[in-house]
């Protein structure tokens, strides 16, 4: 009891001490001198409340611990009763798809915009999940492939006038090629070392884009990237030379909302395609081999699986999804610069994979929604919003280290003879 009180008091005093240096005093310039003054009262009060909170949490640590262990559960997760059988799951899946298809027509333009952004992150999360969640290769430079995809479309359009639909597969292939190239030097690396090299790779791509001014426009980026068209129908107010616009073709008045809705539906289609492809992949021999590689590389070799090939396919296929997402991103923004592809993007995508529960696709979708929608909703907290964001991640990792929805093993029916 005694030590409990002292340690809690100590923690609270420590908080007060550190906090008062950061928040409690401000530097004011008086003439040429800087003097320290006490901050405004509300900051002081905040500080005291914070220290009190630390004291209470430390004092009741055991009780708090008991609650968190209960929240954590035993790691298993059961779907609610009404979505347990495959048939019910399919039904709910179709209903979700239907709802998401209707969504852009009934909500505001801003909401559709955020939803489109969320879909891009879903695609990125699903792609990175192949490398990190399934093959177990920690990749901190995934944003590099995203950049390759975005710049592929932007540059191919700028120099050769290729349309989005032609550039999309090329962007995917180019990103896959870069994934393959990255795969080679890191074949022998695992864990921390792999993470550092991939981190470097992501930075190399960004710095290259920043400095190769002749080709990429450097920090100024590339502007006026055309939006995708629908079978040749453009979504602009006025048609480009020889083109036709959507609203003229259907004889309806122009509205900029059509473009936003079209982009959303396009992203949605890309996500559905990604989901289908990855769902098939993980049930195919290659997907099983990825997971086996994550579990035990030596056992893989002893069974005749070639770890080199498995790693390269994971990097290549994972990167190609970033390429698709990147070219869509370029088309949606209309402007890209190396600034969009900094390390923090890699970190966010990785956080989506980890928060969602490694390997779990539904978890990743939920995490991507949380990571894009929550910061938008918390806008009124302005600079504290990133703090909240960090706090949320810390708490998640304490309470549910296995992620929102940990991956469920597929159940395979055996013929009994």
């Amino acid at each position: 009891m005694q030590s409990r009180f002292t340690s809690a008091l100590f923690a609270a005093l420590l908080t007060l001490l550190l906090g008062s240096l950061l928040l409690g005093v401000t530097m004011v310039s008086e003439g040429i001198d800087l003097v320290l003054e006490l901050s405004e009262p509300h900051k002081i009060y905040g500080l005291i409340i914070g220290a009190a909170l630390v004291f209470i949490i430390q004092y009741f640590k055991q009780e708090v611990g008991a609650v968190t262990t209960r929240l954590r559960g035993d790691g298993s997760f059961e779907m609610p009763a009404f979505i347990r059988t495959p048939k019910q799951q399919r039904l709910w899946g179709f209903m979700a798809v239907g709802a998401l298809l209707i969504f852009p027509f009934v909500s505001s333009r801003g909401a559709v915009d955020i939803a489109t952004l969320t879909l891009i992150y879903v695609m990125l999360g699903l792609g990175l999940n192949i490398v990190v969640g399934l093959a177990g290769l920690l990749d901190l430079g995934y944003v590099g492939f995203y950049a390759v995809g975005a710049y592929s479309y932007a540059l191919l359009n700028f120099y050769f006038g290729l349309s989005f639909w032609v550039a999309l597969p090329i962007a995917g292939l180019l990103a896959a090629l870069f994934g393959f190239i990255l795969g080679f030097p890191v074949l022998r690396l695992r864990g921390d070392y792999l993470a550092i090299v991939t981190l470097g790779f992501g930075e190399i791509i960004r710095i290259l884009l920043n400095n190769w001014t002749d080709l990429t426009g450097g920090p100024n980026g590339i502007a006026r990237i055309p939006k995708p068209d629908l079978f040749g129908l453009e979504f602009n107010r006025r048609a480009s030379e020889g083109g036709q616009t959507f609203h003229e073709f259907f004889g309806i008045p122009y509205s900029s909302e059509y473009k936003v809705i079209f982009l959303y539906l396009l992203a949605f289609a890309l996500v559905l395609l990604t989901l289908y492809v990855i769902n098939r992949l993980i049930r195919m021999p290659i997907g099983r081999a990825w997971e086996a590689l994550r579990e035990d590389e030596i056992a893989c070799r002893a069974l005749g699986l070639n770890p080199t090939v498995i790693k390269l396919t994971a990097f290549t296929i994972g990167a190609s999804f970033a390429g698709f997402a990147g070219s869509f991103f370029a088309a949606r923004q209309g402007f890209i610069s190396p600034e969009s592809f900094t390390f923090i993007e890699s970190a966010i995508i990785l956080a989506i994979v980890v928060l969602g529960g490694m390997g779990s696709q539904l978890g990743i979708i939920l995490a991507a929604m949380a990571m894009t929608i929550l910061p938008e909703m918390a806008r009124e907290f302005d600079e504290y919003r990133m703090l909240l964001f960090g706090l949320m991640m810390v708490l998640m990792m304490i309470w549910r280290p296995q992620g929102l929805l940990p991956m469920k093993r597929p159940h395979l029916e055996l013929k009994r003879d």
Partner: protein, 254 residues
């Protein structure tokens, strides 16, 4: 009868340490050969050299008349020489049946497009894999655990699953590194029966590293004794039991 595996003058040097020094042995078809020796004698190193996990410093490894030394492990495994490890190396977070499906990677359909569109050929291949997996699960008595995560099985079951995982690859030579380690006498007896059954009914040759002398003497056709990296003796179980050098190496001089 021809030799399935022929190892001559195998040498492995780690810097200044000569871990294996001139070991020779041969395995004939449908033979059970055991490698025994005190702890640290270099038995596992011999295994690692033969199975391609180390590149031997010298010597020849010939499997089915073809040289194997210097080949990477996964290619040697594909030739039909499959091994287990001292510590269980299952894919722990995957289910029992998935472990067996991964092991059949070489027999699987690899064309991605066929997989995407679930062509009849692809479905047939996958069904073959499932059937072979089910067959072997039944053989080792794990069929009811097919959808359980491998890491959640009891230790003895994990050992049996590891052997089943090797067998689905349809090997010619099965190399078991201390398969009885950590098993109780009952489980060891079951393992004994399983190995005999694999040899008699499935025609595989078995190479065994084992400390359980009861098991070794009971099932081996031939025994190779290694001490401090060098070959000490080889012969039938009866010959080995009577060999004074072997007794000295195991029990020390009096």
């Amino acid at each position: 009868m021809t030799n399935l595996l022929e190892v001559k003058d195998l040498t492995m040097r780690f810097g200044g340490l000569l871990a294996v020094n001139g070991v020779s042995l041969s395995v004939k078809e449908k033979q059970i050969v055991s490698v025994i020796g005190p702890n640290g004698a270099g038995k596992t190193t011999v295994f690692n050299c033969i199975s391609g996990f180390y590149i031997p410093t010298g010597g020849d490894v010939v499997f089915q008349g073809r040289p194997m030394q210097g080949k990477p492990g996964h290619l040697i495994a594909r030739e039909g020489m499959v091994r287990t490890f001292q510590n269980v190396r299952l894919f722990k977070e995957m289910t029992v049946i998935e472990n067996l499906l991964v092991a059949q990677h070489m027999h699987a359909e690899h064309n991605l497009l066929k997989g995407f569109f679930l062509t009849p050929g692809y479905r047939k291949k996958e069904k073959e894999l499932m059937d072979r997996a089910a067959h072997w699960l039944d053989r080792v008595g794990l069929l009811e655990f097919a959808n359980r995560e491998a890491g959640n099985l009891a230790y003895g079951q994990q050992r049996r699953l590891e052997i089943a995982r090797c067998m689905v690859t349809e090997p010619k030579l099965l190399m078991l590194d201390e398969p009885a380690a950590g098993l109780n006498p009952n489980e060891t007896k079951e393992l004994d029966e399983l190995i005999m059954h694999l040899r008699d009914d499935h025609g595989v040759s078995v190479m065994l590293i084992e400390h359980d002398m009861g098991l070794v003497m009971g099932i081996s056709d031939h025994i190779v004794v290694i001490n401090q990296g060098a070959p000490l003796a080889s012969g039938t179980p009866a010959e080995i039991q009577a060999n004074p050098d072997v007794i000295k190496a195991y029990l020390g001089e009096d």
